[in-house]
């Protein structure tokens, strides 16, 4: 696939996207008209203060929820026009998601968790297992395949989650605060891993984070504030403290 087509295939585009939730009696406008285009492959961060709409944006890209207004395109496909079945296929094949809480199924082994998307897609566990084993091996979990999540450390669980997200080779990998439950060493390993995944597999990896340390591993940072895009900037050799300053500037200028 030529680079431009590949970029389109793994890019995401949001136009005038709005999303509101009901929180008790209160209506919370999480996204108030997001316009954002991210070209893949690459490793991008979405940052912003709490309640700025980062996770909501990621959930919409993953097809976990539907926007109230606006257009969302992932890999050149508009999610707004998809029915439930097509959206299910999108989640199954076109996006991989990594959650802060890992979200591994506690009753399945590491290997079964990884093969889950393929099993849901109609392949048998035996058919999907070789690739899943390779992924787990690559991620340093060769000896943990038959363990259930409660026997794995947080870092190991998150690596299992990454393997699961990569199994179907989706063009877009979405990570929502993936190191929120990990220690610093494990977090650093994970960020490097995601950067490597984006580079070696020509994928677009979009990571929601509020940590400058994490964003320092990315190519570009997109900043959200109060449900809108406050700005974007290239990381390009910024160290974490410089990145934090840049982030503050972006937020300040957006006021």
């Amino acid at each position: 696939m030529p680079p431009t087509e590949a970029a389109a295939a793994c890019g995401v585009r949001l136009l005038g996207v709005r999303k509101a939730y009901r929180q008790g009696d209160r209506r919370v406008e999480a996204l108030r008209g997001i316009d954002l285009e991210i070209q893949g492959p690459g490793f991008h961060a979405i940052m912003g203060p709490s309640g700025s709409g980062k996770s909501t944006l990621l959930h919409l890209l993953a097809g976990l929820d539907a926007a109230d207004e606006g257009t969302i395109e992932v890999g050149g496909v508009s999610l707004g026009g998809l029915d439930d079945a097509a959206l299910t296929l999108h989640r199954r094949r076109r996006s991989g998601v990594i959650f802060q809480g890992f979200n591994l199924l506690p009753t399945l082994t590491a290997l079964e968790n990884v093969t889950l998307p393929a099993t849901l897609d109609g392949r048998t566990h035996a058919e999907a297992a070789p690739r899943a084993e390779n992924l787990l091996r690559e991620l340093g979990l060769a000896d943990r395949m038959t363990h259930r999540p409660d026997a794995l450390s947080g870092g190991e669980q998150q690596r299992v989650a990454i393997a699961r997200a990569l199994l179907q080779e989706p063009p877009v990998l979405l990570a929502d605060e993936p190191t929120g439950n990990l220690d610093s060493q494990a977090s650093d390993r994970l960020w490097r891993l995601l950067a490597e995944v984006a580079r070696t597999r020509s994928m677009l990896v979009v990571m929601v984070t509020h940590e400058p340390l994490a964003a320092a591993h990315c190519e570009r940072v997109h900043v959200l504030r109060d449900g809108r895009v406050a700005g974007s900037f290239h990381v390009d050799g910024l160290d974490p403290s410089q990145l934090a300053l840049r982030l503050s500037d972006t937020l300040r200028t957006a006021v």
């Binding site: 959930h59 993953a62 097809g63 976990l64 929820d65 539907a66 439930d84 079945a85 299910t88 296929l89 989640r91 199954r92 094949r93 998601v97 959650f99 809480g101 979200n103 591994l104 199924l105 506690p106 009753t107 399945l108 082994t109 079964e112 093969t115 889950l116 998307p117 099993t119 849901l120 897609d121 109609g122 566990h125 409660d150 699961r164 179907q168 439950n181």
Partner: protein, 839 residues
């Protein structure tokens, strides 16, 4: 809700029983009058009414009234016919009573008209009034051999219409009935009213020396002792049902509270972190269970009363007193609910008290200990075996019954309840692979989700099994009994009965009726057994015996005799030549007599000795005599029956009259029961006709009704259990929202996710089906053993396959129905919303 419905059930059943008992007592009082004592012949035969005059002189006697039982064939005095041109005719049981001013000896309550005022008046019951199409003031004619007698209808009694087997009943003057039935100066009962404050039992004892030989003076309440025994038996059954209801309620409350404690695990741990003591955490679920159960009972009791009131209203004709609430039933419902609440919340309370403070800080709950299901298996199997040990090892039937009622039932239920935990894992393992393949889900998902909550799901299945076990037990017994009755009951197609006896001419006329293929005359003669001395039961066995005279060949062609000892081949020749006698099985226990022994029978002026050639039981004859009331007339004070050739009875004791004629009819569709009744009335005026075909149909109807009622109760139990476990299944599904969200996020469509939840509910249902079938079959087996030990009734081991299949279907549907509202709610949520719950 389940506890509320269980309370409602207990209240409704107890109030229903109380209502039935009160109404029955009221009807008995109407029927027997509220007299204090009565004098009857020990054999039930009529006796001289001269004693009435003597009795009025006895100390303490206020009034004495003579009564005579018999039957009358009535037609309209204007010879009115029905729509088909046939003369309207009815043969009614008749009671002749002496006139009395005592209000306690008044006649039956009247629906219309007034009590009899003269000798030539009659009070009809609604059945006879309807069949004759007459009302108050009309005249009816008594047909008999000789001049007919016309009587004026003074009133119609307020007697409920009870269906096909009910006989018409009329009341006339005693002297008139004595004249019409050719029994002048005789009575069958003297009813006695004593001065107020008299100790009736003591008075009866004091006057015993004044009573001529052969007569029996007894308190009138003894006449209702049969009913009291029945009520006692019903109460016992009710108590057993209550104990099962308490267990079921406890299981349901236990499962619900366990779920609640599991859900609140983190909060409880947090409370421990903040300084809550184990005692405080223990008391919480206990108080919650008790409060919940009592609140549910508060709602259930009025609901049950309303249900009983509705039933009483529906059967208002049979229940003139209407609803009579049972105070003790209501107290029992409240107590049982409280007990089920406390029992059921004991384990969750213990679980809550055992919560470790650190549990609040754990991100996920610890998986259950692996040894838990094994412990459940061992303890459950041991408890289930207790019932089997009681039934097979305890020799004394009475002790066996009480151990079964007080210990075995509870152990069996609790044992199978616990067995559901390991059983659930086995079922999950068996169905996981095919189900997962079908749903394209990893097999470990279904197996694993079951393994994560073995107690919650297993015990849910345990609560759900109760309904099916009740269904299997009651239907197995019901079908067994019905089969037993059907196989034992074989008798003629038609009967003619005349209390005063069918003369040989009448017997011949009946035999020669068109359509009668075969006939067998049966006579009943009260006799005494010679050689009274005995020990134990033999010593207290009454000396009276009913001699049943029958024609062996014709009788055996139409009836089925069960030969407990002896065979027809060896017995019949000796019966025919008058040397042998058959005896009823009660002789085996009461007198220790058996085949080969001799029995001496005594009449007032003759005696004869016979060799016992067989010990038999005749269910068909029992039922026929019951229908005609012969049992109450003849057998009340007799121990049992001796069967002799009818001609032999005539030869030795001079009684050639038959009381009953059994007839086998030709298969002719035109030979209806009405037509046959007409022919019988013509051939033997005064004889009551009864249709054997109708009796058989009625027995079948009653059997089906009993099965229907027990089935309805079982299905109600199923429904109650399902409602109870619905919340648990719902909580289980809700607790796994996050997991389902992950599945949806990974690309699972809605359908397999829904199917997964339904498959889990299905696993619970299958487990409940297996356990319910096991428990039901164990209790059915125990019941069969107890029936055999206590009642001598050997029921066939019938597995009620159709009822069971229906129960399984209802089980599964109800389990799915219980899960469905939650599933529907989940379907409306986006994967993001589902993911907001932890996995």
């Amino acid at each position: 809700m389940a506890v509320a419905l269980a309370s409602a059930l207990v209240t409704a059943v107890s109030s229903g029983m109380r209502t039935g008992q009160a109404n029955l007592e009221a009807r008995l009082e109407r029927l027997l009058g509220s007299v204090d004592a009565r004098l009857v012949q020990q054999t039930g035969a009529p006796f001289d009414d001269a004693i009435l005059r003597e009795m009025t002189l006895w100390p303490g006697v206020r009034t004495v009234q003579g009564r005579l039982s018999g039957s009358l064939t009535l037609i309209r005095a204007d010879a009115g016919t029905d729509g088909e041109g046939r003369i309207r005719r009815t043969t009614a049981q008749a009671r002749g009573v002496d006139a009395s001013d005592d209000p306690r000896l008044k006649g039956p309550p009247l629906r219309e008209g007034r009590p009899r005022g003269s000798r030539m008046e009659i009070v009809l019951d609604p059945l006879s009034a309807t069949s004759l199409a007459v009302g108050v003031g009309d005249r009816v004619r008594v047909t008999r051999l000789g001049e007919p007698v016309d009587l004026t209808v003074s009133g119609i009694s307020d007697r409920p219409m009870l269906g096909a087997l009910q006989r018409a009943f009329v009341e006339v003057d005693r002297s008139l009935l004595a004249e019409l039935s050719d029994r002048p100066g005789l009575l069958t009962q003297a009813s006695i009213v004593l001065e107020p404050g008299t100790d009736i039992a003591g008075w009866c004892q004091d006057q015993a020396s004044r009573v001529p030989e052969g007569l029996l003076l007894e308190p009138a309440e003894m006449a209702t002792s049969g009913m009291d025994r029945q009520v006692g038996a019903a109460r016992l059954g009710f108590l057993l049902a209550c104990s099962i209801a308490v267990l079921a309620g406890a299981f349901i409350v236990g499962v619900g509270m366990t779920t609640s404690v599991s859900e609140l695990g983190r909060e409880l741990a947090l409370l421990r972190c903040l300084g809550a003591s184990r005692g405080q955490l223990f008391a919480g679920p206990l108080l919650a269970g008790a409060t919940l159960s009592l609140s549910a009972a508060m709602a259930g009791v009025p609901l049950g009363l309303a249900g009983a009131a509705a039933v009483a209203w529906w059967f208002r004709q049979s229940l003139p007193l209407g609803l009579v609430p049972s105070g003790e039933g209501i107290a029992l419902a409240l107590g049982a609910s409280l007990a089920s609440g406390v029992l059921g919340s004991a384990l969750p309370a213990w679980q809550a008290a055992a919560t470790q403070p650190l549990a609040a800080l754990r991100s996920r709950s610890r998986p259950p200990a692996r040894r838990g299901p094994w412990i459940c298996l061992l303890v459950g199997a041991a408890l289930a075996a207790v019932e089997a040990i009681i039934v097979t090892r305890v020799q004394d039937p009475q002790r066996k019954f009480w151990m079964h009622a007080l210990l075995g039932l509870a152990c069996a239920h609790t044992g199978w309840f616990l067995l559901c935990v390991p059983l659930l894992r086995v079922v999950a393992s068996a169905v996981a692979t095919p189900t997962s393949r079908m749903l394209r889900l990893p097999p470990g998902l279904l197996r694993g989700s079951v393994a994560r909550a073995p107690y919650r799901l297993g015990l849910t299945a345990g609560a759900l099994m109760m309904g099916l076990s009740v269904l299997v037990t009651t239907w197995s017994h019901g079908e067994g009994m019905l089969g037993e009755i059907r196989s034992r009951i074989r008798f003629g197609d038609a009967f003619a009965m005349k209390v005063s006896g069918l003369s040989t001419a009448e017997q011949a006329a009946l035999r020669n009726l068109p359509g009668v293929r075969q006939a067998a005359a049966v006579g009943y003669l009260p006799l005494r057994v010679g050689g009274e001395a005995g020990l134990g039961i033999q010593a207290v066995a009454p000396p009276g015996v009913i001699c049943v005279g029958f024609e062996p060949d014709a009788f055996l062609a139409m009836n089925r005799l069960e030969w407990i000892q002896g065979t027809p081949e060896s017995a019949l020749p000796l019966l025919r030549d008058g040397r042998g006698a058959l005896v009823a099985e009660q002789f085996l226990t009461a007198r220790g007599l058996q085949v080969g022994d001799r029995i001496e029978l005594l009449a007032p002026r003759s005696r004869a000795s016979f060799e016992i050639v067989g010990v038999v039981r005749s269910a068909g004859l029992d039922i026929a005599t019951q229908v005609f009331g012969i049992r109450s007339v003849y057998m009340e004070h007799a121990m049992s029956c001796v069967f002799l050739d009818l001609a032999t009875v005539g030869r030795h004791f001079g009684a050639r009259e038959a009381v009953l004629m059994q007839m086998e009819l030709a298969p002719d569709p035109l030979l209806t029961d009405d037509a046959m009744a007409d022919r019988v009335a013509t051939a033997a005026p005064g004889a009551i006709f009864a249709s054997g075909r109708a009796i058989r149909a009625a027995i079948d109807d009653v059997g089906r009704l009993v099965l229907g009622v027990s089935g309805a109760v079982a299905f109600a139990a199923l429904l109650v259990a399902s409602l109870g476990v619905g919340s648990v299944i719902s909580a289980q599904v809700q607790g796994r929202r996050g997991e389902l969200g992950v599945l949806r996020a990974m690309g699972a469509a809605r359908a397999p996710v829904v199917s997964l939840i339904l498959a889990e509910a299905g696993v619970v249902a299958i487990t409940a089906v297996i356990a319910g079938t096991g428990l039901g079959w164990e209790l059915a087996w125990a019941g069969r053993v107890l029936f055999a030990d206590l009642a001598g009734l050997r029921l066939a081991a019938i597995f009620p396959i159709w009822a069971w299949l229906a129960g399984c279907g209802v089980h599964t549907l109800l389990a799915w129905a219980a899960a469905w509202p939650t599933v529907r709610g989940l379907l409306r949520q986006s994967p993001r919303e589902l993911l907001s719950q932890p996995t």
